[in-house]
């Protein structure tokens, strides 16, 4: 009796989880299936074709936009890793007068919503620094928005590395730079990976910064390109789904490979 009841409960649980999977995956199944239909096939619901892809490459400079996305995302991720590892090393291990306060101030940066600073930021980048429609402008803004959390993550990670290791190396005549390069960086590869994965997905998927700072079709990212043709409402649904699939693919691949790092970074806020 007890075992039967337990079996029924567990089957019920399994069933509920299956229903949730359908709800969660259905939109993606729809996206993938629709991406391989012509407009007529989409309406009738039967058959597959590659018309949508021809249409997509016709209306959107897909290759250029993928290159733009890659350059901007890679640039920003590299910059974030540089400033968050050096900064994390300084805050966790070296210290300086007022380093505690400075660290707190940088953490406070996490509380600033992008939209609250977007207007002065836009004016500064576009009209003062003249970096509008240049990769560098967007890269800097993405880096500034991503760096506070990355610095927090790296600092927490470096705090876990015993100070004796650094002191011993310094006693042996290593410079602080050498300690950083030969000891801290190799030891923190897992944390760096987490930062890179989190930031890659966030920046690749972003719309607002790209929309404002890379508005010229030549430098647009794939996410911006897609959002703009969607609002134009002239492109058929299968082509839009093909574009969605293409733009989502890199981030999904990164997700599938680095799922564990992503989860780690996400739950960092409560666990450590």
């Amino acid at each position: 009796m007890g075992i039967t009841r337990r079996r029924i409960t567990r089957s019920l649980m399994f069933l509920i989880l299956c229903v949730v999977v359908v709800v969660m995956l259905f939109p993606f199944v729809f996206m993938v299936l629709t991406a391989f239909k012509s407009e007529d096939q989409y309406i009738s619901g039967n058959g597959f074709s590659l018309d949508s892809w021809a249409e997509l490459f016709n209306v959107l400079p897909v290759v250029q936009e993928l290159i733009n996305s890659t350059v901007v995302t890679a640039g920003a991720v590299v910059l974030i890793i540089v400033v968050s590892t050096t900064g994390g090393y300084a805050f966790a291990k070296l210290g300086f007068r007022g380093s505690g306060m400075v660290f707190l101030a940088i953490l406070a940066g996490m509380m600033i919503p992008m939209q609250s600073i977007i207007i002065p930021e836009f004016v500064n980048i576009a009209r003062v620094a003249h970096l509008n429609n240049q990769y560098l402008g967007a890269v800097l803004v993405y880096a500034a928005l991503g760096a506070p959390f990355a610095t927090y993550l790296m600092t927490t990670y470096y705090r876990g590395i015993p100070s004796e290791l650094i002191e011993a190396s310094v006693m042996d005549g290593a410079s602080y730079w050498q300690v950083f390069r030969k000891l801290m960086l190799p030891l923190s590869i897992p944390a760096i990976t987490t930062v890179a994965v989190l930031q890659f997905i966030q920046i690749w998927d972003d719309l607002l910064i790209g929309l404002l700072f890379l508005n010229d079709p030549q430098v647009r990212t794939i996410t911006v390109g897609l959002a703009v043709i969607q609002t134009g409402r002239v492109v058929n649904v299968p082509a839009l789904m093909a574009g969605s699939l293409l733009s989502a693919l890199p981030a999904v691949v990164v997700y599938l490979i680095f799922q564990r790092n992503l989860i780690q970074g996400l739950t960092m806020g409560v666990n450590k």
Binding site: V20, T86, I112, Q115, L226, S244, A248
Partner: protein, 312 residues
């Protein structure tokens, strides 16, 4: 013996002093290195975060077109608080706020089921978490086809013989906002589920066993043991979800509804964009941004408190 020990003590003390002297030189060079290593992140955050937020506060007291500005005192804020559209927008934010309990409770229940490790739970977990990797633009793009008049939702309803409910959520102001909120709940589902699974992994299995021995059923253990013991994780998820709702839905709204119909789905963050970049009143938009900042700041302070209590 006594003399010997005094002698060694003295020697040790002497060496200690020398050590300390070289230690302090070491300290100085360490601090200099520390400052140098911190310079990149400090400069970046100063120029692109600290300065802009200071400017945003300053310009929120001016009439500003991006080139010249005139000081107008609190006029922008006065206008904002007497602007019926602003209150309409706040209503939309409140509706998002009201959707958060669903965005917490559903993942909490599912995490509880996943934690029972029924067959395939790893696959379920990965599948639930997938939307985290997908951009809001793509999610919005698909959601649009789900909720459209001839969309998937209506097809599914008819397939189940519920065709009479035929909905066109995106055409009404309130219903469009509900559609946005549903999409939002769907999107954060995976993230919150992962947070709760992580939390449940930290719970002591013995407590469950004890409860089972005492004859408590699944639901009783869930309400009386799981939820209270996960409070810290629930708070964390709540704040994360709230900040997402108020500051990360721009792209979703941009693609799904463009803020309409009317101001039906214009939230505070979207209103900043509209007023700033579509209407072009930078000072007024800055003031809206500052209101948003104040809300997020207050919520984040609460979060910091939770952090602190954890660190102590």
């Amino acid at each position: 013996m006594t003399t010997l020990s005094t002698a060694t003590d003295g020697a040790a003390r002497g060496r200690g002093r020398r050590w300390r002297a070289s230690g302090s030189r070491l300290r100085t060079s360490q601090r200099r290195a520390g400052l140098l290593f911190a310079v990149p992140v400090i400069v970046l955050e100063l120029l692109l975060l600290a300065v802009p937020i200071a400017q945003a506060v300053y310009f929120s007291f001016t009439r500003w077109d991006g080139i010249s500005s005139t000081w107008v005192g609190t006029a922008n804020y006065a206008r904002l608080f007497s602007d019926p559209t602003f209150w309409r927008v706040i209503e939309n934010n409140l509706l998002l706020l009201a959707s958060i309990p669903f965005a917490i409770l559903i993942p909490l229940l599912v995490a509880y089921l996943l934690n029972e490790h029924v067959p395939g739970w790893r696959f379920f977990r990965s599948a639930y978490f997938l939307p985290t990797a997908i951009s809001w633009v793509v999610i919005g793009m698909v959601a649009l086809r789900v909720f459209a008049g001839e969309g998937i939702l209506n097809h599914v309803l008819s397939a189940f013989g519920l065709g009479f409910i035929h909905t066109d959520l995106l055409s009404g102001e309130l219903s469009a906002m509900v559609a946005v909120a549903i999409t939002f709940i769907w999107s954060v589902f995976g993230t919150n589920t992962i947070i709760f699974i992580t939390g449940m992994a930290t719970l002591d299995r013995d407590v469950y066993e004890a409860a089972r021995v005492d004859g408590a059923g699944g639901f009783t253990t869930f309400v009386q043991i799981t939820i209270p013991m996960l409070m810290r994780f629930i708070q964390f998820a709540f704040i994360l979800t709230l900040i997402t709702a108020f500051t990360a839905l721009f792209s979703l709204i941009f693609v799904m509804t463009g803020g309409g119909p009317g101001y039906g789905t214009t939230t505070l963050e979207f209103y900043v964009y509209q007023q700033g970049f579509q209407v072009g009143v930078f000072g007024y938009a800055a003031a809206i941004g500052i209101v948003l900042f104040a809300i997020v700041f207050a919520v984040s302070l609460a979060q910091l408190r939770i952090f602190r209590s954890r660190l102590d």
